[in-house]
């Protein structure tokens, strides 16, 4: 259970000016829920994720996970960054094992788990390769394995598929759903793509900029497991349209915050 209450973040720019990246963000996330976050560029999505992860400290408000206020990154949390950020000197397998190595929890069982994760995402034959020998999509899959390897309860993903082409991107979303189905976790997923947000999320947090805040939280009533077929569902269309309106015509939808 994640409780985000009245979170706000003010950055002090180099010229001394203040940027309010986030104001009054409150959000509760249940265990094993997938919550996606969409919003225009610069509305504070990454900032929200970084605050929840404990990588930065909030200017105001708090993040409480399982009754504990977040002050630094937790051991039961995995992050997938926008860029794969694999270490170029390490093999794919070593990259996936990196979190365990850093936490001093590396053992034979963990190595087996890493290997089966890699096999599951189709990288079984590339474990001993270096990152630069892999395509962008393959690298991002390895990065997802790295975020899963220490069996975190919570996964934070900041536009993990942002750099991928449309085809790979669709494939990866389905793959992520498959992984989640096999082993349920709480996932917080930032994306620029509205269909992706709706396909993945139980709820979609729509954010608006200047200052960054939650415009509305859209509940997606699609049944699980979901796949490409789900996109044909009228509910899917309805959710996408609602979100599109919130983002492109904020004035029309203003006041309908709790609709």
């Amino acid at each position: 259970m994640i409780e985000v209450s009245d979170l706000s973040q003010v950055f002090v720019a180099e010229d001394g000016g203040k940027v309010t990246a986030l104001t009054d963000v409150s959000l509760d996330i249940a265990d094993n829920e997938i919550v996606t976050i969409v919003g225009p560029s610069g509305c504070g999505k990454s900032t929200l994720l970084r605050l929840i992860s404990g990588l930065i400290k909030p200017s105001g408000g708090s993040v409480v996970i399982d009754g504990e206020t977040v002050k630094e990154p937790r051991a039961d949390m995995g992050i997938v960054f926008q860029a794969p950020t694999l270490l170029p000197w390490a093999t794919i397998l070593d990259n996936v094992l990196f979190p365990l190595k850093m936490m001093g929890r590396l053992d034979a069982k963990a190595t087996e788990r890493a290997k089966s994760l890699l096999t599951m995402v189709g990288l079984g034959d590339f474990m001993q390769h270096r990152p630069r020998q892999l395509s962008g999509g393959m690298q991002q899959r390895a990065a997802i394995c790295r975020a899963l390897v220490h069996q975190p309860k919570l996964i934070l993903m900041d536009e993990p598929f942002g750099a991928l082409d449309a085809l790979t991107r669709e494939q990866m979303s389905i793959e992520l759903l498959r992984i989640w189905n096999a082993d349920k976790k709480t996932i917080l997923f930032v994306t620029h793509s509205i269909p992706e947000a709706v396909l993945l999320g139980d709820r979609v947090v729509v954010m608006s900029p200047r200052p960054g805040r939650i415009a509305e939280i859209v509940t997606v009533p699609l049944s699980r497991p979901r796949d490409f077929e789900s996109e044909e569902d009228p509910e899917f269309r309805r959710c996408c349209n609602r979100i599109r309106n919130l983002i492109y015509n904020p004035n029309l939808t203003a006041g309908a915050r709790h609709a």
């Binding site: 990588l55 630094e72 990154p73 950020t85 270490l87 000197w89 390490a90 990196f98 850093m102």
Partner: protein
Amino acid sequence: MHKYKKAIREIGIPAVTLLLLGCFWELSVKIFTIPEYLLPAPSKIWNDTTVLGWNLIHHIASTLRTIGLGFTLALCVSLPLAITIAYSRIMSVAIYPLLVLTQSVPKVALAPILIVMLGANDLPKIIVTFLISFFPLVISITTGLVSVPPEYIELARSVRASRVRELLSIRLPYAIPFIFSGIKVAITLAVVGAVVGEFVAAENGLGYLITSSMAYFKTPVAFGAILILALTSISLFQTVVLIEHFLFPWARPVERQR
């Protein structure tokens, strides 16, 4: 096929150029009857130098030892120093000006003073070698350690890596290419340092061989020693290149078609 062509082009052409230059040198000396103490012919250099036999080997070994010890000392001092500078703002502010100061002192001028301070033994020339080669090492290692992209540091923080683990698993590996470019500069400077040290304070070594043979106008031997020094420098440099190539293949620049 393509590989052979490349090898021929990269080794063959310089070799032929060198050979032609040697012939030209030999012939010019013969034709213009240049006196030996001014410019000896390659054949004369070869004969007079090789005739030294074991003595020569002894000089070479002595110089290599000075280079090895001085360079190793430089590496051992510069690594912890660079780590300190990279991690502590205060230390970097405190040490950097000192470093630049030591760098602006002419090391050749220090050699005679070092003899007085340390005695007429091997230490002064090792210290001179160390002083000359350690500056590029500190600078390049520090640069490597601090230029790690923030994403990697954030990655380390997100998995709760301790500072030591961050250093060993992120910063040092990232700095490897930087460290090697420092080593390449430092190893060639170490050769210079060793010779300077031997000029001033030594009973053996190639630097000593140069000064002692010139004292008797044995120019061919001096030339021989200089050529051996050049070869040493090139070989050491190439050894470093090979070590980097085979031990750290990921640090190789991405190969492009030319």
